[in-house]
């Protein structure tokens, strides 16, 4: 079983090295997508890849957003003939052990797409609100109810990775993926995962203002 881990990274120089070390230690194939970072992310990643003689690095010359980076990473993984493609955040909020948990339903053939579901009870309230709003929005716009629509830890089998078309460039991508799962009648399961909240990861991801931005974008998409 070839498991490819796609790590979208935008200005993650503080955490990316540790995340990559952990993933290499567990023996996964890694594809880092540097989304036009203005810090040292690209150099750090390319140095590590040269040292280990392992892993791929895709560089967006300009910052194009999380959705664009994920799509690039998935397309790069598809070149390498994967069995499972896992997306993994670069800010160190995920536990590498969970990669196996989200991959298992795919390896067993029980599911096409797996979402790692974070525990909302442990989530800081500033994040919880934004995430609950996004779950609600995902339900309204895509008609599918999930427990955690914005999780960055997901797993796809080859078929799902090939059929899902990501157009959203920003954080709206998480909801779009779920919408695509429904549109193509793919099987989706949610598996509980651990989330590591650090001061650093707190400043990133879906907070209230990001949630409102995604909402505005979704409404715009309908009016278009």
């Amino acid at each position: 079983m070839k498991i490819f881990v796609v790590v979208p990274a935008y200005n993650e120089e503080k955490t990316i090295a540790k995340v990559m070390e952990d993933l290499f230690e567990m023996g996964y194939e890694i594809i880092v997508v540097d989304d036009g970072s203005s810090d040292d992310t690209y150099n750090i990643v390319s140095r590590i890849i040269k040292e280990k003689k392992h892993g791929l690095l895709c560089r967006h010359l300009l910052n194009r957003g999380l959705g664009a980076a994920l799509r690039t990473g998935i397309e790069a993984a598809l070149i390498k003939d994967p069995d499972v493609i896992v997306t993994f955040d670069a800010d160190g909020q995920h536990d590498p052990q969970d990669i196996l948990s989200v991959s298992r339903p795919i390896i067993n053939g029980d599911s096409d797409v797996v979402i790692g579901e974070r525990n909302f009870k442990q989530m800081p309230s500033s994040k919880k609100f934004g995430n609950e709003v996004m779950n609600f929005i995902t339900m309204i716009f895509y008609g599918i109810k999930v427990k955690d629509s914005q999780s960055g830890l997901r797993a796809f089998n080859r078929k799902a990775a090939e059929t899902i078309i990501i157009n959203a460039r920003d954080y709206g991508v998480s909801s779009e993926i779920i919408g695509e799962v429904k549109r193509h009648n793919l099987k989706l399961v949610e598996i509980p995962i651990k989330t590591i909240y650090t001061d650093y990861s707190m400043t990133k991801g879906t907070n209230t203002s990001e949630g409102l931005k995604i909402l505005a974008k979704l409404i715009m998409n309908i009016l278009k």
Binding site: L57, L61, R64, A76, R169
Partner: protein, 131 residues
């Protein structure tokens, strides 16, 4: 006929805009179609400023009470349309830009897959050598 301040400002603005459009067209920064469209829009603005009463006719025809209201509503609608067009255009450009950036990111050379290729070519060459 009293000349109001707004008439002078509108005429002046219209002339400046037309001049700018012509200059941009000459530099190749504006297409002929857009030049004609802007030309017409600003000529109408100037015309209405000189003969404000002419809008009364259109206003009564469309059922909008006063001539000035007609001009304002028309202007608003046109502005909205242009903003909408611009939004779509920017969105398309963003998409094309993303595709371009992705294409560059996925080139084998840029992904560090050159080493793979070298190894592959080498083993293929050896195969040929064996033959």
């Amino acid at each position: 006929m009293m000349i109001e301040l707004y008439q002078i400002i509108a005429i002046f603005l219209g002339l400046v805009a037309i001049t700018l459009s012509i200059l941009r067209f000459r530099d190749g920064k504006m297409s002929l179609g857009m030049l004609i469209a802007w030309f017409l829009i600003w000529l109408i603005v100037i015309f209405i400023s000189i003969f404000p009463n002419s809008t009364n006719y259109l206003a009564s025809m469309t059922g909008i009470g006063r001539g000035l209201d007609f001009a304002l509503i028309l202007g608003l609608l046109l502005s909205f349309y242009l903003i909408f067009k611009m939004y779509n255009k920017i969105e398309n450009i963003e998409e094309e830009l993303t595709d371009l950036v992705r294409e560059l990111a996925l080139q084998r050379r840029n992904m560090g897959m050159e080493e793979d290729d070298k190894v592959k070519n080498k083993s293929e060459n050896e195969k040929f050598a064996d033959d």
